[in-house]
Assembly symmetry: C2
Homo-oligomer: 125 residues x 2
DNA sequence: CTGTATCCGCGAGGATACTG
DNA sequence: CAGTATCCTCGCGGATACAG
């Protein structure tokens, strides 16, 4: 066990200790963003989520849900026995806004970013 | 070799293909943020950077610099022989703004985030 | 169905030696 | 000093079997 201090908690070294760590944890793990978005898309039970996130393994979904709950972005039966579904917390909803901002930022610079890669890769083959 | 397609390019699966991948790559790797910030703090040569980023290994700094250059956030001797120092690109400077926004976002919610963790951890020991 | 407990592969990050 | 080439470690993400 001891997973809840594992997944999403290499503690995003560069932000370690800082509050930003919890955000980076979500962004930087394999299924973090996908999972919060799945939860937002409709409060779901475990199996619905797993089907929604096609490809995620049983264990990894549990680990991810646990980490997201520990960081306060979702709530669900795993921590609160009264619940039957996973739901976004208010902070979780705000997190999605932040994620969307990052997406926008990237799309606004899509051209420049892509060009950088092309140039770099061209110089090297 | 083949590192430049390695470091920072597990291709941030959840954003794979999307332009946001390049941003997440920086955020999610051990030294990504620290390195762009070091480059901003003063255009430096390799060894100065390594001293500035105390603890980073030789190889990892090179890998990180290469990835940051590939993604267009910095430029330097590694890709451009005319340069002697590593410098931020315009997009790189904007990236730092984005990072600061994420920091602000987190600090604004610091209390709620910390409380979530405390509650979770308390419920489990 | 939901969560736990194991076992495993692979890749990022690190240590080190070698080359211009 | 800057960059390359190896080798190693450790932990995330995954597969699977088991338990309420």
């Amino acid at each position: 066990m001891e997973t809840y201090r594992n997944v999403m908690e290499s503690e995003a070294a560069r932000f370690s200790g800082s509050p930003a760590a919890q955000v980076i944890n979500v962004l930087s793990t394999r299924w973090g963003v996908l999972t919060v978005e799945a939860v937002r898309d409709g409060n779901m039970r475990f199996n619905e989520l797993q089907r929604h996130l096609c490809g995620i393994s049983h264990k990894v979904l549990i680990d991810t849900l646990r980490a997201l709950q520990r960081d306060g972005f979702i709530r669900g039966p795993l921590t609160d026995p009264r619940l039957t579904e996973y739901v976004l917390t208010p902070v979780g909803a705000e997190l999605i806004e932040l994620i969307n901002e990052i997406r926008r930022w990237s799309e606004d610079r899509q051209g420049r970013l892509a060009r950088a890669r092309d140039e770099f890769d061209r110089g090297r083959d």
